[in-house]
Amino acid sequence: TVGCVALDKNGNLAAGTSTGGMTNKRWNRVGDSPIIGAGTYANNATCAVSATGHGEYFIRSVVAYDISALMEYKGLSLTEASDEVVMNKLVKMGGSGGVIAIDKAGNVAMPFNTKGMYRGYMKSSGEKLISIYKEE
């Protein structure tokens, strides 16, 4: 699964996710990627999120929207909200994977509960990072 979230010069957020699903799947199984709110969500008032992982858990946890909702209704920061969902709520359910997220201020979060996640970001400030492993 691949995904991207962005904040443009006009302060608008967007999110996208694209995937091939999982090997050997049957019965027209659909994961979280095309489910708005589960694998993908964007709201200028809060954040944009794209997820990757075991889709069934992401659907049941409505992961992407949940991060936005925690920011909107509970006032959590992007990092607090995405950590709560990926590293706490999802783990308790047994779901593995991660998200990338960005808020309207350009803050970035990339939490994951697996051993690695291909990920990276670039900011207009010049800050740039590309990482794969957990310890990076």
Partner: protein
């Protein structure tokens, strides 16, 4: 506002230094860099976040390294069934396609559903027919084929198991009931 930024992912799973060769690691880093730059360039030119997201994802869809577009994994029947979605934070509009096998860029199709239909999620043959009508590029399903993913399917069929992304970086058995240890899941 001149503050802009872009974030990407290429999948998660049991990805460790032990199961990823230095050559493969370099290849992943280079492709991630290319995707980031493609999206960033759009933002720098003043294009929308939607444009940037689409461009960055299309770079990864065209790479066999990731489970999307070329290099997508196979279903039990040996098909590629692709899913994609996009959402615009400004308008809260969204579009998605599920289970498509002949649309060259699923993320472009997802955006087309959002911008050129009154619907949010189109699936299977209907989604492909919609894409055709809207002039999106269609391809033979062989366009998505890679030997690496085909071999993954053969291993999975042999074990009667399912595999998520990046499983061949850590070839361990997974289970059909989803109640499996962390190491067996690859997103």
């Amino acid at each position: 506002q001149e503050n802009f930024a872009l974030v990407i992912h290429g999948g998660a799973g049991t990805i460790t230094r032990e199961n990823l060769s230095p050559e493969k690691e370099k290849a992943y880093q280079a492709k991630l860099d290319e995707a980031l730059q493609a999206g960033y360039d759009e933002l720098e030119k003043g294009k929308s976040a939607m444009d940037a997201v689409e461009k960055a994802i299309q770079v990864m869809e065209r790479s066999e390294l990731f489970n999307s577009g070329i290099g997508a994994v196979f279903t039990h029947e040996g098909r590629n069934e692709l899913d994609a979605s996009m959402m615009d934070g400004k308008t809260l509009n969204a579009g998605a396609v599920a289970g498509v096998s002949h649309i060259k860029s699923p993320i472009e199709a997802a955006r087309a559903v959002m911008e050129k239909s009154e619907h949010v999620l189109l699936a299977g043959k209907g989604a492909e027919e919609f894409a055709r009508l809207k002039g999106l590029e269609m391809v033979d399903s062989s366009y998505f084929f890679t030997e690496r993913r085909w071999n993954s399917l053969q291993r999975a069929i042999k074990r009667d198991s399912i595999e998520l992304d990046h499983s061949d970086e850590a070839p361990k058995k997974s289970s059909m009931n989803y109640s499996v240890p962390e190491d067996y899941k690859f997103g």
